[in-house]
């Protein structure tokens, strides 16, 4: 005696084989994530990864991608370019269908060559213009481009604020200098003179010298393009020097921490960004509901909540278009036409990997310390 009856063991084996076979047919789709979870850019990476997880749960809960579940493979790039390169390589070896991230422009530029070797696409969150101009067919922008953002800033200054000229304060990194080059070209085309332009070194503790030069030119609007702690110093210095011209800040200025530490100096400042926290579009409702359940009913969506959510949905739709074939994900992405998601309407085609267009650009204004939507689409 003892042991199972023979027939029972047989059925068990059949059952095992069947479930294995089923598991094979329903093999999960791996999506790689390489984002900064530690280091200087972690305050951007952590909420983005949170929203990527939320989106993957949502898609999986709604039948997955044609019945197949998404499996996230998340790696921390420690805000470092060398680690981002390693992550990209390892994620490709693990068989991911696509990579979401990185967050920092310099890390994206460093990791780009790996994509050419591994032929795995990347969905990057950079505004930096050059990222889609490298001739690398695997880089897709899942954000607005600064060529649209700078045009929006200029159009808003001239059409809505009635400014006949502008001055520009920008940071000396790629983010600032590329945007300034775009602003110069755009302003020339739109016939708006740039009466002063000053470069701010990254991390400086005072910008009054730069402001003094800019204000001497008596600009009717001031465009401020940069990111980080220096931006709140710049906003304070401008207001201390008695500037009354309206300021339009970049997406890097439209961050809660910068607005908070600039205090009263941030009041009334316009910013070019991807969402107006006070307005929930129909495409944002599902995400907003989930985040309100999690964080309380007063929670308003941030840009990080939106871009992570959208990236997962972009891949889900592209993989659907590709018929679940890993080799055809790039083609699938290039088939996406006007895919409406939380950040706006995404369109890709062969040779055009910009994703969002100028119709998705928001101008918001700081009122009582919060960003309030003013205009969308340019």
């Amino acid at each position: 005696m003892g042991g199972l009856p023979r027939w029972s063991a047989g059925w068990f084996a059949v059952g095992m084989m069947a479930s294995l076979g089923l598991a094979h047919a329903q093999e999960a789709i791996k999506l790689g994530v390489s984002e900064p979870l530690s280091g200087a850019a972690s305050s951007l990476g952590i909420p983005v990864v949170e929203s990527i997880k939320t989106a993957a749960e949502f898609v999986n809960g709604h039948g997955g991608i044609d019945g197949r579940q998404i499996e996230l493979v998340i790696r921390d790039d420690q805000s470092r370019a060398d680690v981002a390169v390693q992550n990209f390589r390892r994620l490709a070896e693990e068989g991911v269908y696509g990579i979401i991230g990185p967050n920092q422009g310099s890390n994206a530029l460093a990791a780009a060559p790996v994509l050419l070797e591994t032929k795995v696409p990347m969905c990057g969150f950079q505004n930096t213009i050059s990222i889609t101009k490298l001739g690398n067919p695997y880089i897709f922008r899942c954000q607005t481009s600064d060529s649209d953002n700078t045009r929006a800033a200029l159009k808003f200054a001239s059409e809505k604020l009635g400014a006949k000229n502008v001055a520009v304060l920008y940071t000396g990194d790629a983010y600032g200098t590329e945007a300034f080059a775009a602003l110069e070209a755009e302003a020339k085309e739109m016939n708006i003179p740039i009466v002063a332009a000053e470069k701010i070194n990254y991390g400086v503790s005072d910008t009054t010298a730069e402001w003094t030069k800019v204000l001497a030119a008596k600009p009717e609007a001031i465009i401020l393009w940069g990111s980080g702690s220096t931006m709140s110093v710049a906003l304070r210095n401008g207001s201390q020097l008695g500037n009354t011209a309206p300021i339009i800040g970049a997406q890097g200025v439209a961050a809660a921490a910068i607005i908070k530490s600039a205090g009263a100096a941030a009041e009334g400042v316009y910013m070019v960004t991807l969402n107006a926290p006070d307005q929930v579009t129909p495409e944002q409702q599902e995400l907003s509901r989930i985040y309100k359940e999690r964080n309380g009913k007063d929670y308003t969506l941030t840009i990080y909540d939106i871009i992570g959510w959208d990236a997962v949905h972009i891949y889900a739709e592209a993989i659907r278009q590709a018929g679940g074939d890993k080799a055809k994900v790039v083609e699938g992405l290039e088939k996406l036409q006007g895919l409406k998601l939380a950040g706006g309407s995404y369109t890709y085609a062969a040779g055009s990997h910009e994703g969002l267009g100028s119709d998705s650009v928001w101008i918001v204004q700081v009122k009582d310390g919060a960003m309030v939507g003013v205009q969308r689409g340019f």
Binding site: A40, A41, S205, D206, T208, T212, A257, S261, G263
Partner: protein
């Protein structure tokens, strides 16, 4: 450029210069006792600013109490650094000690990132109200605090090193450790005191400048670089030279913005530093090498 704009650049130069000078003063304290450049001096400053901002912002303490607590804590950290690391390798070369302070700077910076994150912290200026207007130029009230306290500290340090017994003992330690010991000076205690004072002074600088510059975990290096440059320009070893060097550096930066593209500010300032040191290797006021025999502190 109008005269108001030129005046504005001068005021900007003095404001920024006073920040550099305050950081530079802290360098001098430890240098005077040990001949070591403390690379963690910038972190002392950042730590002072961040501790105060957290105490004011999160714990809701009044600013004066938060500032005193921050200064005391960083002073204690200075003592701890000497107790746990520096005093253990006193027979090591100046280079070894400097490397230890560099490692400590990294530890403090990384811990701050883990603790408060990368966002800038801030608290309101000591004196509320609009900035002063002087002939069309603007002077921030907080800058008056920075400049004023900087000058007071300089006077106090000058007195400390020339008249106070303990200050003179501190100098003696740096000039010749063994001789100082033979003369009955407690070298270990004197060096520890220099770390405590330097921590307190760094934190004081952080408290003063945060309303102007914000406090961010990674600011220490830039601050230390400029403070070091201020000391080198003025001449290492005495308080007045850090102040003079700081103001000179701030004014050079502001002047370079007036005539050149502003992105070149740092390059111009540091190039002038190199030039100045090639002409006068021991700084504008002369370094300690020249003064050792004259006792002209």
């Amino acid at each position: 450029m109008t005269s108001a704009e030129i005046l504005q650049l001068v005021i900007t130069g003095l404001t920024v210069g006073s920040i550099y000078a305050l950081v530079g003063l802290g360098f001098n304290l430890i240098f005077n006792a040990t001949d070591v450049i403390n690379f963690a001096q910038g972190e002392f400053v950042v730590l002072g600013g961040i501790l105060t901002a957290v105490a004011v912002g999160t714990a809701g303490l009044p600013l004066w109490l938060a500032a005193i607590m921050a200064i005391a804590l960083v002073a204690a950290l200075g003592a701890l650094i000497d107790f746990a690391a520096i005093s253990r390798v006193r027979r090591g070369s100046v280079m070894t000690l400097a490397m230890i302070t560099l490692g400590l700077a990294v530890i403090v910076k990384t811990s701050l990132l883990l603790w408060v994150g990368p966002d800038p912290l801030y608290f309101d200026p000591f004196t509320p109200g609009p900035p002063l207007r002087i002939f069309g130029a603007v002077l921030q009230l907080q800058a008056i605090w920075v400049i004023g306290v900087g000058v007071l500290v300089m006077i106090a340090l000058k007195f400390f090193f020339s008249h106070a017994r303990i200050g003179r003992e501190m100098l003696a330690c740096a000039i010749d450790r063994e001789a100082a010991q033979l003369m009955g000076i407690n070298v270990g205690a004197t060096v520890r005191l220099s770390f405590i004072l330097s921590g307190a002074l760094g934190a004081l600088a952080g408290v003063l400048i945060t309303p102007l510059t914000n406090a961010t975990y990674d600011q220490g290096f830039t601050l230390a670089l400029k403070g070091f440059a201020a000391c080198a320009l003025g001449g290492f070893g005495r308080a007045s030279s850090a102040i003079l060097g700081g103001f000179a550096l701030g004014l050079i930066e502001a002047a370079s913005v007036a005539v050149l593209p502003s992105g070149l500010k740092d390059s111009v300032a540091l190039s002038i530093l190199i030039l100045a040191l090639m002409i006068r290797p021991s700084g504008l006021l002369g370094g300690r090498e020249e003064r050792r025999h004259t006792q002209a502190m």
